[in-house]
């Protein structure tokens, strides 16, 4: 943390030329606006719970200005914080109602910021503590050799372990080879998914052979559920996996597997 964002513009501007290199090396040490704010509070020896917004805001803005002058890209997150600081500062300028009790001042516009700063500081320190541990592969090592006598023993019965990210990552890698248009997202983001309904319908069909539409929505008769189930049926029909029947006009809708279960003997795999 060697950056000196000076309190007075006049102090640093004449120095700028000679410092270009030094600054560009150190600027990225701030890990975002919270980190910069903590640095400014520490540098000014302020109490984190009673910071002078005026001082901090001025220095913070000077720092951003400096970044711009040095042609460094100022991340949007820094601007968000600048706006937050300015907002707090402007709220402090508003006349305070004398009737209000200023002791536990929930109306202090700094409260939210201080809470966030304290919390951020905790995690920043926690990060340093865990980072200071002896890490496997860096300070601590395992036995690397595998024994030839045991290499012959094959893992045959063990369960498989895999993470969700690996699955998604495998799919992502696949998409780099083939056009994305051949895929749809299974999950529509919210609530019910058609894929879940398809799975449900097909397992019901495997159990009982015929299913009536009402059965699908009996337990939870909502507009959404009816629509999604209906879309699932249309999709299954399109895929030629089911056949749909209707006994009479406005009668119940029934459906059965498009291919009877008994010729399952001619299995493919």
């Amino acid at each position: 943390m060697a950056v000196e964002a000076h309190g007075h513009r006049d102090e640093h501007l004449p120095l700028l030329d000679g410092l270009h290199e030094q600054y560009s090396v150190h600027l990225d040490k701030f890990d975002g606006p919270m980190d910069l704010l903590l640095h400014l509070i520490k540098k000014n020896e302020l109490d984190i719970c009673d910071i002078s917004i005026a001082v901090i805001t001025r220095q913070y803005l000077e720092y951003i200005k400096l970044m711009k002058e040095l042609n460094l890209e100022v991340a949007g997150d820094f601007l968000v914080m600048a706006a937050t600081l300015l907002q707090i500062k402007s709220r402090q300028l508003l006349p305070v109602n004398d009737q209000e009790e200023p002791e536990i001042d929930e109306s202090d516009p700094r409260v939210e910021l201080v809470r966030r700063l304290l919390e951020y500081q905790q995690y920043k320190e926690a990060g340093m503590v865990i980072g200071a541990r002896a890490l496997l592969g860096r300070e601590v090592f395992l036995r690397a050799v595998s024994e030839p006598a045991l290499a012959a023993a094959q893992n045959t019965e063990g369960p498989l372990v895999v993470s969700l990210f690996e699955l998604v990552d495998a799919f992502r890698a696949l998409l780099q080879r083939i056009p994305a248009e051949s895929f749809h997202d299974v999950a529509p983001g919210d609530s019910l998914s058609i894929a879940d309904c398809i799975n449900e319908i097909l397992s019901l069909l495997q159990e009982q052979g015929t299913v009536q539409f009402d059965e699908l929505v009996r337990d939870e008769f909502t507009r959404e559920r009816v629509i999604v189930n209906f879309l699932a049926l249309l999709e299954l029909c399109r895929l030629k996996m089911i056949r749909i029947f209707q006994g009479s006009d406005h009668g119940s809708i029934w459906f059965i597997p498009a291919v009877a279960a008994d010729d399952e003997a001619s299995s493919e795999v």
């Binding site: 949007g76 601007l79 968000v80 706006a83 937050t84 907002q87 090592f141 036995r143 690397a144 050799v145 024994e147 006598a149 045991l150 023993a153 893992n155 019965e157 063990g158 369960p159 498989l160 372990v161 895999v162 993470s163 969700l164 690996e166 699955l167 998604v168 495998a170 799919f171 992502r172 696949l174 998409l175 080879r177 083939i178 895929f183 749809h184 997202d185 299974v186 999950a187 529509p188 983001g189 998914s193 058609i194 894929a195 879940d196 398809i198 799975n199 097909l202 069909l205 495997q206 895929l239 030629k240 996996m241 056949r243 597997p257 498009a258 291919v259 010729d263 399952e264 493919e268 795999v269």
Partner: protein, 201 residues
């Protein structure tokens, strides 16, 4: 006897991927005398032999290596045979295709992967990760596959809609947009840009 040197040598042999020759050890520990290294090494060998533990320091292919004693191999193979294993890339890819495109036929999976998937599909069926959902009424009446309840369990998913969409994973790469956030905002809530799109077009 220099016990520190003994343990330095032990740490080198313990972590080496192949057996370490005395020459190689001397090369790595240039600050020590060759004669000291040799005597420390022989102390180390003596120590492990004397201990009579499950593993021993033995000379293999001109170097030194820790090896378990053969008497324990029957126990060790019990573990190896039944330990958890990682998915192969082809199993993972096939499973991903089925998860994201179910219901799907084997031919469709193979069309996407460009290779035969019979073996992988069989393994996935045997591990109960994939199940047969039914048959398609088209020539050949191919079987249709989908993921099972076990699939959801192994990935800790409540249902299929909890599967991360590709868009969500790709959103991790995306450069965030700030235009909207330059307005004064105390809490910049930034949820994922999830577009609610029906899965079948």
């Amino acid at each position: 006897m220099n016990s520190e040197l003994i343990f330095i040598i032990e740490s080198l042999i313990f972590t080496a991927e192949t057996s370490l020759s005395t020459d190689r050890i001397c090369e790595l520990l240039i600050e020590f005398e060759r004669s000291d290294i040799k005597s420390a090494l022989s102390d180390l060998i003596g120590y492990h032999q004397g201990r009579g533990g499950s593993f021993d320091l033995v000379e293999v292919a001109g170097g030194w290596q820790f090896r378990t004693r053969p008497a324990f191999h029957s126990y060790i193979t019990r573990h190896i045979k039944t330990r958890t294993s990682k998915f192969s890339q082809s199993a993972l890819e096939t499973l991903a295709i089925i998860a994201y495109r179910q219901p799907i036929t084997r031919a469709e999976v193979e069309h996407l992967r460009g290779v035969d998937c019979g073996g992988v599909l069989k393994t996935l069926l045997e591990k109960y990760l994939v199940k047969i959902l039914g048959k398609k009424d088209i020539p050949g009446r191919p079987l249709i596959y989908g993921t099972s309840k076990e699939f959801l369990e192994i990935f800790g998913l409540k249902d299929l809609k909890s599967l991360p969409t590709l868009r969500e994973i790709q959103a991790l790469d995306a450069v965030p947009q700030y235009e909207r956030q330059e307005e004064l905002q105390l809490e910049p809530e930034r949820p994922f840009p999830v577009e609610s799109q029906l899965p079948f077009e």
